[in-house]
């Protein structure tokens, strides 16, 4: 298969999966994060411990779950614990190395919104809300965020701050007393953004193949900082694409099969 025969969404999911170290304990949000987490487990990171907020610890699904509590997760888990336990002892207790979140909006300090577009009391679009996102963002050792990059998502000011990244930048996160380090990478369909070590402002550090800096800047609602040593993300290889597509096909068949 020629290298260019992949979509920008596949590039995003595959790059997100690559950033998961083998053996890490990973608290997974549903959607894009779940696809990337399972791709990682099926490729370079087989010993990754997947934890879903339904209380399933060490889940090993063969198809992607539609919800965070599908039977597929509890039947393949090492342990299933209650909701108060997963949030208190495991997440707040500091046992989880990495959290993985999606979002509807993100700002330059990697704060995210998954609650509402428009005014909270008179919303244009009412989104699902936090769920476990604000706790995952607060308590995991570090956090990965993945979402598609465009002007509506990458905004100067969030309509609602659901989950904290670096708040006002600098040391404002530490001052609030949140134990986790915060978001370390934002993986989009155009490239990778990482927080500046001092100011914590998201900086474009890698471009996916075929994407230009101008494109990413135009898709960002604030003046985007670009790293001087800008890298190019490696294109998906044939094995990564095959495993991802197999996973997606199995999942589509499984979800359509029940009616």
């Amino acid at each position: 298969m020629p290298d260019a025969a992949y979509t920008s969404d596949e590039m995003m999911t595959i790059q997100a999966a690559r950033m998961i170290r083998n053996g890490v304990t990973l608290f997974v949000g549903i959607g894009l994060p779940s696809a990337a987490a399972n791709l990682a487990r099926l490729t370079h990171a087989p010993d990754t411990v997947l934890i879903y907020e339904s209380g399933t610890i060490g889940a090993k699904p063969t198809v992607l779950p539609l919800s965070i509590g599908d039977g597929e997760l509890s039947e393949t888990a090492d342990a299933v614990v209650s909701i108060p336990e997963i949030f208190s002892y495991w997440l707040q207790g500091g046992r989880i190395g990495l959290g993985f979140l999606g979002a509807a909006q993100i700002d330059k300090y990697a704060n995210i919104n998954s609650t509402v577009i428009g005014d909270y009391n008179k919303p244009k679009v009412r989104l699902p809300g936090s769920g476990g996102a604000q706790e995952i963002a607060g308590f995991c050792g570090e956090v990965l965020i993945t979402l598609r990059q465009n002007n509506r998502a990458f905004v100067k000011k969030l309509d609602f701050l659901t989950s904290g990244g670096y708040f006002e930048g600098g040391d404002s996160r530490q001052k609030l007393g949140l134990p986790g380090k915060g978001p370390t990478n934002v993986i989009t369909d155009l490239g990778i953004l990482t927080p500046d070590p001092e100011t914590k402002e998201l900086t474009l550090t890698s471009l996916h193949p075929g994407v230009t800096v101008e494109q990413v800047v135009a898709a960002t609602g604030w003046p985007l900082k670009v790293a001087s040593n800008l890298e190019t993300t490696a294109a998906p290889n044939a094995a990564e694409l095959r495993v991802l597509r197999d996973l997606n096909e199995r999942t589509a068949r499984a979800h359509a099969g029940q009616a």
Binding site: S74, N121, L178
Partner: protein, 288 residues
Amino acid sequence: MEALAHITSLSEAIRETVRDGDTVALEGFTHLIPFAAGHEIIRQGKRDLTVIRMTPDLIYDQLIGAGCVKKIIFSWGGNPGVGSLHRLRDAVENGWPQPIEIEEHAHAGMAAAYSAGASNLPFGMLRGYVGTDLVKYNQRIKFIDCPFTGAKLAAIPAHRPDVTIIHAQKADRKGNVLMWGVVGVQKEAVLAAQRAIVTVEEIVDDLHAPPNSVVLPSWVLSAVCEVKGGAFPSYAQGYYQRDNAFYKAWDVIARDRATFQTWIDRHVLGTKDFAEYKRSLEGATSHA
């Protein structure tokens, strides 16, 4: 000596236990969602309910669309993996079929509030919520200083439902209940409530519950009702899988007021119980 749970029909349990204006929690985290009980509340036309649930899911979308709800307390209001809950959104955004008050939390806050209720504490406590906008809009999230370390902690008033309703796998003939798999926050929600109803897949002679199982003894429950398949379209581990296709079909049914109304009239209000509802759905050419 407390009274043992009354093994009864679901319609009788709802009639005797749920009153207009009650605060009601129908819990079950993706798994074991008590849909049959939700439908019976709709059939009996209960009104002005304050409903508590971490994930409103389709069950509260149906209760809201049917006009049973005046206030919802929740932490994640979507159709998992599919998108919006359209009836919830229509109520929040347009006040249809009636305006709805919302009290919004995050999952850990809801879990802490149920645990506090079960523990007879006035509030639940957790780290978190600091710096987020939720605290600007929910006046019931407050911060306190730890008396020992000075750490800033969030406090949420305890959930104390008038009635909690859950679905489980099994009960024995005395009304002791056994559940397994994703057990969510149901134990806490039952023990936080004044009254509790449990629907089960089956009533058996002996639970054969291994030590440390999640068992709710008969004497903390008001009523136990056998409703086979009562968690459909969610699932009951060991009995049936989640019907993900129904969750996807719901997006189409609930998107439009008229389609929703036709669906609820035909399949829920037009049927006498959950078994007839399931037959009604099977008889339709599509879920709609």
